[in-house]
Symmetry: C2
Subunit: 339 residues, 2 copies
């Protein structure tokens, strides 16, 4: 570099200072943010009652606030998404953990994935039948194994090796899910419409912590009346769950369509490679590409600047968001409601 | 549109014709193409013998020609990749089907995926222990189930429902793989280097057929001494296997790194969104991004114009390509050899 060029930088700074114009200050930190979902297309608005709606909202609020409390006291995005998803798994209203939908064989088979943009690191499990909180097992795979994904009996063996206590499959079964399965297995199709609309629930969370790190987590019982061993998009890194330093996504919807679309990663790739906003990337992937294939569902997504996107092409998506600027929003259909 | 503009097109065509310059003819069809791989980092060149090398080359040649014959007589890319991968699965030298590496528990656990850019359609299976040709089961999942992925016992139940005959796990076990596992399970690490270098084999194929359709297929036993239930990138659509109308990829290498990188899809997204060639996209994803994470491996990739890319950052990648323009190439390390 020539001496003239070397001199140019200090001279520029001096001239700025002399003119009273310091270099522009960096933008304020985006602040911590948590976004969660409780599934897309869970209940048709026509079948929703005021009592049910209040109960779903309460469940979403509890998970939102539990996860947000971790971020607020300086905890990691990874801990926040784990806590939020764990609470949704424990809530029998949602299709994950207790209250998961049942397979054709009448059993709960659970899938989950977690991804930490730092590293990046990822863990996923599929087809487990005796792990109370699948998201915790996915996280153990990420943190305590050299692998990303474990399935079936091998995943449960790993759970035992890690000291988890297994639970009987009956722990997951609720009367509502048994009834749903019975309706779907009736030879006549009279109940199909209602059943279908209930079969897409999944829970998930994306978070941005004080250090600017993103994480994503998703957990599900899959689809009601599914074939034994069926795995949807939830535990597929890139399909239902993905986090990079610039973009975190958790999806819910028609899993097979999400897998073929590599949907979660496609949102992040569209944003990074086409240099568009997160909202524009989600819009393109959900409302143009997914819609064109006939797939239904939605995502929650978050970028490193704290921009929140909750978008879907299904009848609704149970969702909630909270951030450091006072936003606290819980919504189910196409309305927006602040609480 | 104004009348003047409407007139402009026929006028332009007339003037071109008048000048004896017809509109440029469409480029000639790319012709059918098949590319296969037999794994990255399979054998360190220092441990390779002339006899072994000839045997691997013969195995690759047989699969290449079997798949290519289908394309040549007008068959689909889907049939060609299925046939090529099936032959590699049946060949005990390669880590897929018979001759798969063994898990820590001493058992073969097999994963496979297939994707047809038409549709698109995809099928995948993981953790199966009794299905002779995993790629055939992946294809059955794609064609005869509403799902994309089935794992473990559920996948085997589906195999039985489809009329496949299951085989005992011993069918897959070869003396070489049992010995490899024993070496890796010795408490001292004297054999680790050699064992590691053998543990990444996987087989795969990508093809372009007469109708211009792309397909991809991959099959593997995973990594030697793996935890029961471990799933690598092979059966993850977007990670180890992916096909779109413009780009088909089959990968082989450090599965966990490939999953976190959503590697196969990232190549296609880079090509489509950044508008670069397939070779440039593969170069960026393998030699910059994968390399930066410490992951090793490679891919075979094919675009709709018949451009072939076989690239890797590992010590070698067993690979072969054949096309309608007379190319017939089989290679193992960084050499290029035409046969």
């Amino acid at each position: 570099m020539s001496r003239l060029k070397l001199l140019a930088i200090p001279c520029l700074l001096l001239s700025l200072e002399a003119a009273g114009r310091a270099p522009p200050a960096p933008p304020p930190p985006p602040g911590v943010t948590l976004v969660i979902h409780g599934g897309a297309g869970v209940i048709d608005p026509a079948r929703m009652t005021a009592e049910k709606e209040a109960s779903y909202r309460a469940g979403l609020a509890a998970a939102l606030d539990a996860g947000y409390a971790i971020l607020e006291r300086g905890g990691s995005s990874l801990d926040a998404v784990t806590a939020a998803v764990r609470m949704l798994e424990d809530d029998p209203q949602f299709n994950a953990g207790r209250g998961a939908v049942l397979s054709h064989a009448g059993e709960a088979e659970l899938d989950a994935a977690i991804m930490d943009a730092r590293g990046p690191r990822a863990g996923a499990i599929a087809g487990v039948m005796h792990v109370r909180n699948p998201i915790e097992l996915a996280r153990l795979v990420m943190e305590r194994s050299p692998h990303v994904m474990l399935v079936g009996l091998g995943a449960e063996e790993f759970a035992l090796e890690q000291g988890l206590v297994l639970v009987p499959n009956d722990y997951f079964k609720t009367r509502a899910r048994l009834q749903q399965l019975q309706e779907e297995q009736q030879p006549v199709d009279t109940h199909r419409a209602g059943a279908d609309s209930q079969s897409k629930g999944t829970v998930g969370a994306v978070a941005l912590d004080r250090d600017g790190n993103l994480a994503a987590a998703t957990s599900t019982g899959g689809i009601s009346n599914k074939h034994r061993g069926r795995v949807g998009d939830t535990p597929i890194i890139g399909a239902g769950t993905y986090a990079s330093p610039g973009c975190a996504v958790s999806g819910t919807g028609d899993g097979e369509y999400f897998i073929r679309a590599v949907l979660a990663y496609d949102i992040c790739a569209t944003m990074a490679y086409k240099k568009v906003s997160l909202a524009a990337a989600v819009n393109e992937v959900i409302h143009q590409k997914l819609e064109a294939t006939g797939g239904k569902g939605g995502v929650i997504a978050l970028d490193a600047a704290g921009n929140v996107v909750m978008d879907f092409n299904s009848v609704g998506m149970f969702r909630a968001a909270r951030d450091a600027h006072g936003r606290r929003e819980i919504a189910m259909y196409h309305e927006t409601q602040t609480q």
